[in-house]
């Protein structure tokens, strides 16, 4: 042990951490080892993206690499704590009704699963752009109208109701077809203070517990939306406003999936571009308290993101000369890395790493400590398979599903004008375009348009309030009659 020099990454952190290397060079493995180091330093870990293999929830399994740890112990000497560790983990499952199974993995007190719903008024136009790409002025108007009109405790069902009655003419909007309708169908949009809305303040406070976003049951088209929503809320609404501490790390594997610069010719690319810009913004202001840690194969895939923010650049084996040039050229000019070191990167062993910290020269790490938790291996299978093999304990969420089903079964609010005009009219949506147009004319006639404008702040009332008002009117009517009769 006397001939080796131990290595500690820089602390306090002042920027993001990027890990580069070819497939199988151990970059995810090193990413985790370093994130675990910062966890011990008191950082809250937000594991946002587990890559295509869904490695996020692997935090729940202590490393089974006993042999590796023993070998490591031989080199560094007796260890204070034995390597593998079991962390407190919160597995967060966004509520997508049809996608979620009836049981979720849970093993208290260390590992808990939590459903996630979203307060619809928290959703911004930016979030929507992660799903539909370009948000048209009409779509902006419609979403703002919904947010402004409905009360705080409305649900997705009320949004649909409002849409079917007041906003029918906008049914062809991308916003409705690809955002509102599917989200309402999956019952994820709920009112304020619903028990499964994430309480960011409390979650951030509990630094001991690792937050893991499980995206196995999120439809592909909503993955950016969920990640973006969580990060935006956390960063702009809590960290930037000093409502929570400034020690947060958002962790991503395979960043190239969304950081790759692509041709912005179709809608999907616009979505990726929007999300990329959003992550770049957060990365730029990392020092405000949310640091991005992620790995990717080629620095070319994240070009433009890292320049100027490379506080912790970790390079694993990188055979491509072009990649080496992109990541090292500027550093070489600044004399922070030598040509010999650059050449060495092309043939490094998986346990080795070259690390470049802010303002310092490149350092070669001869051996990186193995992560304390499990990393994906070819023979393992996915998270659920391993969970069944090791813990096999689950929590039943059918009750929660029924609760949300009930919440969505009835609309809680009716539109006052609609109620008055349409009376007992059947509210079912007619199928033919003609009928729709007729209804639209009826509901959105000139008089009612005026009403909408005049009653911007009081468009809707709860059913109870309306009944109460009606009974008051009846009482007044009868009391007048009686007085007249008496007179």
């Amino acid at each position: 042990m006397s001939d080796i020099k131990l290595f500690k990454p820089l602390y306090p952190l002042t920027g993001n951490g990027y890990f580069y290397g070819r497939v199988g060079s151990g970059k995810s493995y090193k990413l985790k080892a370093i994130v675990e180091y910062y966890y011990e330093k008191g950082f809250k870990i937000w594991d946002m993206f587990g890559g295509k293999r869904g490695e996020g929830p692997f935090w729940v399994f202590p490393s089974d690499e006993l042999k590796l740890w023993k070998e490591y112990e031989k080199e560094v000497g007796l260890m204070k704590h034995f390597g593998p560790k079991e962390y407190d983990v919160m597995l967060v499952y966004p509520y997508f009704k049809d996608e979620l199974p009836d049981q979720l993995p849970q093993k208290k007190p260390k590992i808990s699963s939590q459903l996630m719903t979203i307060y619809f008024k928290d959703v911004t136009i930016k979030d929507i752009s992660f799903v539909i790409g370009q948000v048209s002025p009409n779509a902006k108007y419609v979403w703002n109208y919904i947010v402004k009109t409905l009360p705080d405790n409305a649900t997705g069902a009320d949004i649909l109701n409002l849409y079917n009655k007041k906003l029918k003419r906008y049914r062809d909007l991308n916003l409705f077809k690809n955002f509102i309708e599917p989200l309402v169908y999956h019952q994820i949009l709920v009112g304020k203070n619903y028990k499964y809305n994430l309480n960011f303040k409390e979650i951030a406070k509990n630094k001991k517990e690792i937050f893991v976003l499980c995206d196995d049951y999120i439809p592909n088209e909503f993955k950016f939306f969920i990640m973006g929503y969580i990060l935006r809320k956390l960063f702009y609404d809590y960290i930037m406003k000093d409502k929570v501490h400034k020690h947060n790390i958002a962790m991503f594997r395979e960043m190239s999936l969304f950081m790759k610069v692509v041709d912005s010719s179709n809608q999907d690319d616009v979505r990726v571009q929007n999300f990329r810009n959003f992550i770049s913004d957060i990365a730029r202001y990392a020092r405000s308290g949310l640091y991005i840690f992620g790995d990717t194969q080629s620095p070319a895939e994240t070009r433009g993101l890292i320049e100027g923010q490379d506080d912790l650049l970790c390079i694993s084996e990188m055979p491509s000369a072009k990649d080496r040039e992109i990541v090292c050229e500027q550093l070489r000019k600044d004399r922070r890395i030598s040509s010999r070191q650059i050449a060495y990167i092309s043939t490094m062993q998986p346990c080795e790493m070259v690390i470049i910290e802010r303002g310092k020269k490149a350092i070669k790490i001869k051996k990186v400590q193995p992560p304390k938790t499990k990393c994906w291996k070819q023979d393992d299978g996915n998270f659920l398979t391993i969970w069944k093999r090791i813990h096999n304990e689950f929590i039943d969420i059918r009750k929660d599903k029924n609760e949300l089903e009930d919440l969505y079964a009835e609309t809680n609010f009716v539109i006052e004008n609609e109620y008055e005009v349409a009376g007992e009219k059947n509210n079912d949506i007619s199928n033919t375009e003609k009928e729709i147009m007729e209804e639209e004319k009826e509901i959105l006639g000139n008089n009612n348009k005026k009403n909408i404008n005049n009653t911007k702040t009081k468009v809707i009332k709860s059913k109870k309030e309306i009944e109460l008002e009606r009974s008051r009117q009846l009482v007044e009517k009868y009391s007048k009659l009686n007085t007249e009769e008496l007179l």
Binding site: I4, L6, F7, A33, K80, H81, I365, K367
Partner: protein, 144 residues
């Protein structure tokens, strides 16, 4: 925790201790507070393990499975020791050796004799003597 050892015992331990790069130059061996606690826990676990072993019938798969489950439940209360014990478990049941065959032999001897020799046991599972330095896996991520 202080332990007084005989000259013979000390010599024997010193050989192991040298292997592990620790120095022992006094007859009274000092344990850090943390080590003392860990040793106590470990001994407690070890006794429990031994009692289960004694109640086992030879070569019965069901019994072994039962033991594993019992062990698993029991170990939940001792998170830190989980891996140390599972490691021990591997040593009992497989031919995997991590370079220190002496450890395995000592444990086997203890099992066969079915008695607990404390000093030997501690020697075979934990380093003894004044700790010069230990690697903290929470504070480092590798070496250069």
């Amino acid at each position: 925790m202080k332990l007084s050892l005989t000259e013979n015992e000390l010599n024997k331990i010193s050989i192991d201790a040298k292997e592990r790069k620790f120095s022992i130059d006094k007859k009274e061996l000092l344990y850090t507070k943390e080590y003392s606690n860990k040793c106590n826990y470990f001994i407690q676990n070890y006794r429990f393990l031994l009692s289960i072993f004694n109640s086992l019938k030879d070569n019965e798969e069901k019994e072994t499975e039962k033991l594993k489950n019992k062990l698993k439940n029991y170990l939940e209360n001792y998170e830190e020791l989980f891996f140390k014990l599972s490691n021990l478990w591997i040593k009992f049941n497989t031919k995997i050796e991590y370079g220190k065959s002496a450890i395995k032999n000592k444990i086997n001897i203890l099992l066969i004799k079915n008695e607990l020799k404390l000093n030997e046991f501690i020697d075979s599972t934990y380093s003894i003597g004044k700790v010069i330095s230990m690697y903290d896996s929470d504070e480092n991520i590798g070496y250069t």
